[in-house]
């Protein structure tokens, strides 16, 4: 088993421009230390219709101090997450979809780096393929890979539960199985910026194998950074 940079096609080149946009990094850096509720705010705003902050402040009173129960533990972060999410929402429909995906990937990378204690180390990478002897290379690279012998992982990221497809599940399971054939361990992880309940609904109807795929959802994102 070995990892390799993906040869960029035209779509990847365009998407790389989105991934390197400062807005993506700003959003991911704010979300990495965010609470569940703040991450839910980002999800709602980035796919909402309203682009005025007052509407969202009203919808999330416990974050913006308008409810009796509000503790506003991190109100400034909430405001900055709202600002960056509105900046995404104000892009065109196609662009906002690409930005959302890139943000989930970048956030995942930051959380995974925390787990492995490397700020800039080569062990956590983006857009990489996993190659196996005698096996045809997969079409799509993985969004994030952990390239540590004995603790390798291939991670795919999705904005919503609807993004969970048979193709995605098969690719992850195939990689895990091929690694096992080579007596290598490869964890396969699907990160979905959506509720576990919605993901469960999606998975209930699929016949694609996913028993060995670890699912990380909006309410369990911090598990990516946990060391045990």
């Amino acid at each position: 088993m070995r990892f390799q940079d993906a040869a960029p096609d035209a779509r990847a080149v365009v998407y790389a421009g989105i991934q390197s946009d400062p807005l993506v990094a700003r959003a991911a850096e704010l979300l990495v230390d965010a609470t569940f509720e703040q991450r839910l705010l980002a999800r709602a705003v980035m796919n909402g219709e309203s682009t005025d902050p007052e509407t969202w402040q009203a919808i999330f009173p416990t974050l913006f101090g308008t409810a009796e129960s509000s503790a506003r533990p991190d109100g400034d972060r909430s405001t900055r997450i709202l600002d960056v999410s509105l900046a995404v929402a104000e892009r065109g429909e196609q662009a906002r979809s690409q930005f959302r995906g890139a943000i989930v990937e970048s956030l995942t990378e930051l959380l995974v780096r925390r787990r492995h204690g490397h700020a800039d180390g080569p062990t956590v990478r983006r857009e990489r393929r996993v190659l196996f002897d005698g096996v045809r290379s997969e079409i799509h690279p993985y969004d994030v890979t952990v390239e540590i012998p004995g603790a390798a992982a291939a991670v795919d990221c999705k904005w919503g539960a609807r993004g969970i497809s048979a193709d995605v599940l098969h690719q992850l399971e195939d990689a895990r199985a091929h690694a096992a054939d080579e007596d290598e361990q490869l964890s396969v992880v699907l990160v979905v910026f959506d509720a576990a309940r919605s993901c469960a609904v999606r998975l209930d109807r699929t016949t694609a194998p996913h028993e060995h795929t670890r699912l990380v959802t909006l309410d369990s994102l911090d598990d990516l950074a946990a060391t045990s």
Binding site: N47, I59, F60, A67, A195, R197
Partner: protein
Amino acid sequence: MEPDGAPDDSPGTVSAAIELALDALDALATLGEEVEDEWQYVQDLTAAWRDRLATVEAARGGEAIDPAIAAAVVALAGEAARIRDPHRAIDWLSTLPQVALVALGERP
């Protein structure tokens, strides 16, 4: 123009807030059904979140809610009503109940 003393239509209880959220959920489902390939997913998703909201209503339905929480649920339903794209409606079938539950102090 509303007459003086007209009743406020904001929900005053958990039950009323959930009813508002369920109406919004149903409207999103109707829109989302336009995506034929996802018809079953729309049905399943709507049912799953209906069940979750119903569980909260059964446990806390009569509980009074803070006016800011009531306003939040009204604003949330209003935001959902602005959605015209069926694909976005499907995404909001998951988003709306999560936001409503969090406003009511529940984990999704």
